[in-house]
């Protein structure tokens, strides 16, 4: 029978992590579906579970000196309701478009990150926001940049004796903003075919001082578009940004052919979404991709 632990402190939780192999559960939006899929084909046993939700202090969005801290129990809905600067508009769009409201009310941003699915809607946004992952473990806490956190297909550097407790999102200028475009084959409850997330920081002259663009669902791990980012630096924030996108900017992506889309389509869609995303960023608004 599956063991289920509900510790009341993080130390207890870490002790359980250190002592045995447990799967972490918060909102349950990945744990239960995985169990259901396995059981359908006769794999009835499941890993023991460690429920973090009774531990005080793991929730909440907190504004600190140079960053925002998002606790590991923060749900998509909480994120959506939080008063956050335009930098987080992309992340909020992801929160609005993931699953249905039921999933948004239960699923957590950190859970989305830790599942590390190539199609995880939060991940490209966290990359664009240069999030740092705050991990608690036996020796104490460590911070890992989100781009280093996911180190392979559905795999992270979080060790079996560690727990991700929060995300730290660096503050930027008041005018800096983010955007997100999700492409799916239906309106609600849809796994992304391709995603594009971006953050643009403007300099004193209103030109692009820094920019990070990230494509999801087109490779095992969400990928930055470094050459394009470079090209955008110093450019004015207007409708012409989209014209700077070149097909070669997507050469490092390695999309799959699967039942949702062909690889060639994903590449083309990544390019199209990137143009749309830049238009959104320039216009300071967002629209649905599909």
């Amino acid at each position: 029978m599956t063991a289920y632990f509900c510790p009341a402190t993080l130390d207890e939780a870490l002790a359980i992590r250190a002592a045995r192999e447990v799967e972490i559960i918060a909102g349950g939006t990945d744990v239960y579906p995985n169990r259901t899929t396995r059981a359908a084909w006769g794999q009835m046993t499941c890993r023991d579970l460690l429920d973090l939700t009774a531990i005080p202090g793991l929730g909440g969005i907190e504004e600190r000196d140079d960053h925002w801290r998002i606790g590991c129990l923060v749900t998509w809905t909480e994120l959506l309701k939080a008063r956050l600067p335009p930098l987080f508009n992309g992340l909020k769009t992801a929160a609005r478009e993931i699953g249905g409201v039921q999933i948004q009310n239960r699923g957590t941003l950190v859970g989305n990150l830790c599942t590390a699915s190539p199609a995880g809607d939060g991940i490209p946004n966290l990359v664009a926001l240069q999030a740092a992952v705050e991990i608690a473990g036996p020796p104490g806490r460590r911070l890992v940049p989100v781009e280093a956190f996911i180190d392979g297909y559905r795999h992270t550097v979080c060790r079996p004796d560690e727990i991700v407790v929060a995300l730290r999102l660096p503050k930027r200028g008041a005018l800096d903003r983010g955007a997100f475009r999700k492409l799916g084959a239906r309106r609600y409850l849809v796994i992304s075919i391709v995603m594009a997330a971006g953050v643009i920081e403007t300099d004193a002259t209103g030109r692009i001082g820094d920019v990070r663009l990230c494509i999801g669902a087109c490779s095992a791990v969400a990928q930055r578009l470094a050459p394009l980012e470079e090209r955008l630096l110093g450019k004015p924030l207007d409708a012409s940004l989209a014209d700077l996108v070149q097909p070669g900017d997507f050469a490092t992506l390695a999309p799959l052919d699967d039942m949702r889309a062909s690889a060639a389509y994903r590449l083309a869609a990544a390019e199209a979404l990137t143009r749309d995303l830049l238009a959104d960023l320039a216009a300071g608004e967002r629209r649905r991709a599909a």
């Binding site: 259901t36 899929t37 006769g42 999933i103 009310n105």
Partner: protein, 939 residues
Amino acid sequence: MDGDASPGFAAMAVSLTVNGAARTVVVHPFTTLADALRDELGLTGTKIGCNAGDCGACTVLLGGAQVCACLVPIAQAQGCEIHTVEGSGPNGITDRLRRAFLHHGAAQCGACTPGMLMAAASLLAREPHPSREAVCDAVGGVLCRCTGYTKIVEAVMAVFASSCDAAGGEGRVGARLARIDGWAKVTGAERFGADEAPAEALWLRILRSPHARAAFVLGDLEAFRRTKPGLEAIVTAADVPGENSFGIFPNLKDQPVFAEGQVRFRGEAVLGLVGTRAAIEAIDDAELPIAWTPLPPVSGVEAALGDGAPAIHAACPDNVLTRGRLSCGDVATGHAAAAATTEGTFRTSFVEHAYIEPEAGYARLVGPDRIEIFACTQAPYMDRDEVARVLGLPPRHVRIRPSACGGGFGGKLDVSVQPLLAVAAWKTRRPVRMVYSRIESMASTTKRHPAVIRAKASADSEGRLLAFESAADFNTGAYASWGPTVANRVPVHASGPYRVQNVLNRTRAVYTNDTPAGAFRGFGVPQAAIAHEGLMDDLAEALGLDRWTIRRRNALTKGDRTPSGQFLSHSAGLPTCLDALKEDWEAMLARVAAHNARNPRRRRGAGIACMWYGCGNTSMSNPSTMRIALDRAGQLTFYNGAVEIGQGSTTVLVQIAAEVLGLPPEAFTLVVGDTDLTFDAGKTSASRQTFVSGKAAALAARDLRRKILALANVGEAATLHLDGALLRIAEGEVRRTLDLSALPADRDGVALEGVGTYDPPTTALDENGQGVPYATYGFAAQIAEVEVDTVLGTTKVLRIVAAHDVGRAVNPTLVEGQIEGGIAQGLGLALMEEFIPGRTENLHDYLIPTVGDMPEIEIKLVEDPEPEGPFGAKGVGEPALIATAPAILSAIRHATGVTIRHVPVLPHRLWEALRERRASADELRPSPSRGGDGGGGES
């Protein structure tokens, strides 16, 4: 592993407030809230549709927020306030919603209804006057397969906007009577297959083949069983007391209840584990002694028809299960005289029914040699005979008590759990229950047949059809199921609802190692309509004709002969349907043109399609018998064997019976679909219940009325009033009172009864498919407006106007509900639904439309009465769906100029077709082409 008492393993006591009452459950902390509500607290109103957060049927409010109860560990509900469908909701909102849902016809089968109500309640609690977009966002996480969402959104928006009475006025024919069985659906009281079972019932879990084709050998199962406490039995083919086979046709019982040494598709039942729920859910399939030898599967019709393809069934060496044929005139002559000829190959995919209720039920022995099965079904009498055969019992020893059916669409016409439960209960002599998981349901039950249709059509310069020919191969999967029905129905319909003298339609149903294909709303006609409507658009284009005009010119009407030689003497309202759309069509074309002048990327298009559909079985007797009894206490009981699957037959039949009898609908007590209590009404399929059973209900009511009038010695114009055991009769000045309690009665106390049987008149089809296959046909035309993002290849359907000739709308709200739901399924068929065995066998990889994918829908009901039908009515269930997909394809073509002949039109397929078109356009230019790689797009 540690014992149950160790930390982390023990059951925990969880206290929560459910619908205002303090409750405590003692369960394992990982138990889902959904299971705790249903199993521990008996609150079965919360439905489990997928156990994965994909369907939202189990939505409840947790601390005021909507959640999927299947994703919440009970440990996390400690101290929480829960609202379920059984309660009145925050500030009574659920109660208000219930009335709105009933009034608007927002509940059909009722399986998604609890989830919809709770999702809507969470919105209305904070926002009493929500926008349409807010309503869609709020219910976007709940899938509905019946309604097309239109009436659900209307109902939610109306809760605080207007007063809603549950009753829709009087219940005469033509009235918008709120569905008679609706209250149970909006309160959670309805009992679906998983909602009822004896407390002592054992559980059954089926071990299914993970291989599409394999041989296997079972080891010592009894030795294995003894190692597993709580595992009472392992049932296999060896435990089947009668015939280990089932199937729709008497000569095609080719599917084993349990496989015998070989499996033919992924998901085939190999054996069953019977025991306590904990015991059977703790055993991994891999633990069982089964030696598998996987073999290369034959997937798709091309492979099955290829040289050297292995025979799926030894009795069918060429893998062709059935051939169908219709021939009239001479197509060569027709083509030769043509001003335009076109041909094409059309492909469709496996489509899953995706009813929100997975199959479930229980079986129990009643006495030593009688068995009773409670399960969801569309065909109780067929289930009875099938189970009897499997158990080796006379049919009268089997009773089928249909549960409420949470959607069917053809998928619950075949047996699923019934023979499995029967064998397990028979072997253990104890009640046995089971609930299919969503994945099990999708992997093991029938699908819509994938089709490859090669078709060719010719017309004269005016667009009048001169010849039509088609050859269609349907992938019937591993077992016959309804394959022959598809092969026989399609040739009749394949040239479309048009006048054409020279027709040659041929079909084959082909065995493969894919999931069995069976009945799905339209029996192959939706696939055929994609082909004939595609060719009509081709001809219109070739001849420079408007697409509406070419259809209007060819539309079948009264006085025409169909390709099967049937003379249409009545009720052929396609021209009227088209005329009803004319103004909308022209407005749509103008709107689209104006939009496209300004929007190079997001192109709009208008599309049109027509369809026809024969109601009832193809050239086969399909009678229905109805009985209405009036007992000595004055109870009027309607014994109605027509299973309600959400479409509304229970309500429609009562409306018909009430009108004929002259007593109001509320006077009737209902007994529906119980093989011990009702006559055989035939299956709920083929759009036949309103037409066939409705006629039988009218005849039964007339029979009873005649007896009453004769007894009272009054004439036809008399009015009836039932007042307890006194039946008061008035005719002009004459007043009579029948004291029912004084009348002689049978042993059930029935003093008067009326029985009616109706079997639609048809004739056999000859070797050329000539004859009268159906007594009547439904006709429809739909127009669709879409917007295509030509860069991303995505399609949004903006608006559909549907004109349907239904003969007579007995209940317009229910008819609209059928059409809206059919449009949703047609949209899914066109744009997103593709079942791939092993790959899209859940509801997040297999996509059906959500509320946000639905267009604005306008319905125009055309009533060209069918003299055979009750009050002129004919069927609408399948006609609702058939025109939608071709209308959407027509609109995509209009928007983009590319012709897609492969559904679903997933974004990547449309994008590839657009890219190919651009590449070929570039080749025509002097400048160097950008070149494509010639990918797989169809054009």
